[in-house]
């Protein structure tokens, strides 16, 4: 009833290929962005910013990057943590070694170096796929784990091995309060989200999906597998690298290599699977889910436990997290490989014909 497209006829290709063809969708998305930018900073607590919102935004960005590689181009990657690390450390080195470099440029520079790494470690994808490619990406992960630990130049010879950044500002705007950091990250997510969406609905997106679906046929219609795969690695690593730089600079303030370990790679992969492979919105859903679940469990489980007279320890909550993640991964892969995004679009379909059942 409310979600009908009556009267919304598309008379130009431009109108037909919009990101949100249904007008109601457009309004809702604009409203959400406006709310996020204006209302949230007014009401959210510091805890909410630091523990939920900022990690959610940055991990959404990283998940978009991973989704481009894994979901759109079908190249499995267990090394995203390493690319985040490269982005973070490269941005750090640019920040402290290049005098007066603007913050945004340092962050993008981090992404650039992550891109180079991504292309190099993406070369195995030209020869192998599936499990074998996963092993190649793990090689990248462990190699960079070691490099940032042992090659002292990267950490500017810090005795403790960890690095810090402080005094972030952009064109005179000091990014100090949680609200400032939140808005900074939100801006990145919106901009990159839009660019990513443009890529995946354009020609290169179709190339990536063609490679994912049937790479032999893709070659036969004139798509160069090498260019498609390496460009997927490049774009994906760039976004993941920038996310990594944001993670280190804005969220953590100071970090060591363990912040970007293989567990982080798995976490990003899970976001993509649960959120929906091959969907930009899905990446955001997945990030939200994985960021919120632990917090939800932390509050809900003890309550549930006392309701049935069982004591729930904090240790159990984290075990429960693992079990629920694991079970959900398996469930989504079997039942709905397109994840929450598909569930969402099915819900929208039902909404379009509501109140009729079909």
């Amino acid at each position: 009833m409310f979600y009908r497209e009556n009267g919304q006829f598309k008379t130009t290709y431009a109108a037909d290929s919009q990101i949100f063809p249904i007008a109601q969708d457009r309004w809702v998305i604009l409203a959400i962005i406006a709310l996020a930018a204006i209302a949230v900073p007014m009401v959210a607590s510091t805890y909410m910013f630091k523990a939920i919102l900022i990690p959610f935004l940055i991990l959404s960005l990283a998940a978009i990057g991973v989704n481009i590689l894994v979901g759109y181009c079908g190249q499995i990657s267990l090394g995203s943590g390493a690319f985040m690390a490269v982005g973070a450390y490269a941005a750090y080195n640019l920040f402290i070694r290049v005098d007066g470099i603007p913050l945004v440029l340092a962050l993008l520079g981090g992404g650039f170096f992550a891109t180079l790494t991504g292309i190099v470690f993406g070369i195995p994808s030209l020869r192998v796929r599936g499990l074998y490619l996963a092993v190649a990406t793990l090689a990248a992960q462990f190699f960079w784990d070691w490099a940032f630990l042992r090659i002292k130049w990267f950490t500017n010879y810090a005795p403790s091995g960890s690095v810090q950044v402080a005094d972030l500002s952009m064109m005179g705007w000091a990014i100090k309060d949680p609200a400032d950091k939140y808005l900074f990250c939100l801006a990145f997510l919106v901009v990159f989200g839009l660019l990513a969406k443009n890529l995946v609905r354009g020609a290169i997106g179709r190339e990536w999906m063609a490679i994912r679906d049937m790479d032999v046929a893709a070659a036969v219609i004139g798509i160069r597998p090498m260019y498609a795969k390496l460009s997927a690695f490049a774009v994906s690593s760039f976004i993941v690298g920038v996310a990594g730089a944001l993670w280190g600079f804005v969220h953590l303030g100071g970090w060591e290599p363990a912040a970007f370990s293989v567990d982080r790679s798995f976490q990003l992969l899970f976001m993509v699977i649960i959120g929906g492979m091959g969907s930009i919105m899905g990446s955001i859903f997945g990030a939200a889910f994985i960021t919120l679940l632990p917090i939800f469990l932390n509050q809900a489980l003890p309550v549930l436990g006392s309701a049935v007279g069982v004591e729930i320890t904090t240790a159990f909550v984290s075990h429960a997290e693992f079990m629920i993640f694991g079970a959900l991964i398996v469930w989504f892969l079997i039942v709905e490989p397109h994840g929450l995004a598909r569930l969402w679009s099915v819900a929208k379909q039902k909404l379009r014909i509501w109140p009729f059942p079909h």
Binding site: A14, G202, R206, M209, D213, A217, A219, I221
Partner: protein, 261 residues
């Protein structure tokens, strides 16, 4: 009806031999294809017809022989280069991109014509935007031509087989090929669908002048629409000529009907 003008040899296959391990799929095959003609390849199952197309297309690399396309000779073809040179094909078992809609599948056929780079596509302004819509317009003409308008946004996996075959053809046509390799385009179709497909194939040949190389089992179709026929059996060529010549060829008859001992 004006007589079709058949041109010179555009594709020349010489002494192609292809083996997989111990199995010889093709033995010393030679034939040519003239521009603007419809050339059929026929033969019993397992004769090596699809393998032959795969060689022309670069999917398989023959151990011996050469392929000459428009005067340039190759020991073996590279899929991507062949596509850029203007050879497109459909597949016996459909090689559609199941995760994409009909429109996206056909648009992917235009990719080799796209010039704008990554950055411009990301920003989607000016040239990238214009290019996208130009290609969309071209693809829409193909969609009209093959009468699949209602299914534009449907994921291809959900379409019935006959329509999927049309999408396969549409994607090949989107490449604006000079030579179109069709691998059993009528397989699994009923009489009506076959008539439609025949009509499309003839129209493509007529309107765009595309050279067609066609693998087909339905003899009626082959005899009706092809200009020349190549007959394969057990990887060897046993007939080459006009449909009438081939129809009366002793070896061909015994290959299909068996000889009495």
């Amino acid at each position: 009806m004006t007589q079709k003008k058949i041109g010179d040899v555009i594709l020349d296959v010489k002494n192609i031999s292809l083996s997989f391990g111990g199995v010889k799929a093709l033995s010393d095959i030679s034939f040519n294809v003239k521009e603007h003609e419809i050339r059929a390849i026929i033969g019993p199952n397992g004769a090596g017809k699809s393998s032959m197309l795969n060689c022309i297309n670069g999917v398989y690399k023959p151990q011996e022989g050469s392929i000459t396309f428009r005067g340039t000779t190759f020991k073996h073809m590279n899929s991507h280069e062949v596509a850029v040179m203007g050879v497109a094909r459909t597949f016996q078992n459909l090689a559609l991109f199941k995760g994409m809609s009909v429109l996206d599948n056909i648009m992917s056929g235009r990719n080799l014509k796209i010039k704008s780079n990554l950055f411009m596509q990301a920003l989607r302004i000016g040239p990238a935007q214009r290019e996208e819509f130009e290609h969309r317009a071209f693809v829409e003409r193909i969609i009209d031509f093959l009468e699949i308008q209602p299914y534009r946004k449907t994921p291809v996996g959900q379409l019935p087989y006959g329509l999927q075959k049309r999408v396969d053809l549409a994607r090949a046509l989107a490449m604006e090929p000079q030579v179109l390799l069709l691998d059993e385009p009528m397989a699994g179709m009923n009489v009506e669908e076959k008539q439609d497909m025949c009509r499309f194939v003839l129209d493509v040949n007529d309107e765009f002048g595309t050279t067609i190389v066609l693998i087909e089992h339905d003899m009626g179709v082959v005899m009706d629409i092809s200009d020349r026929v190549v007959v394969l059996d057990y990887g060897k060529k046993i007939g080459d000529g006009t449909p009438d010549e081939v129809r009366n060829n002793e070896e061909v008859i015994s290959a299909y009907l068996g000889t009495s001992h």
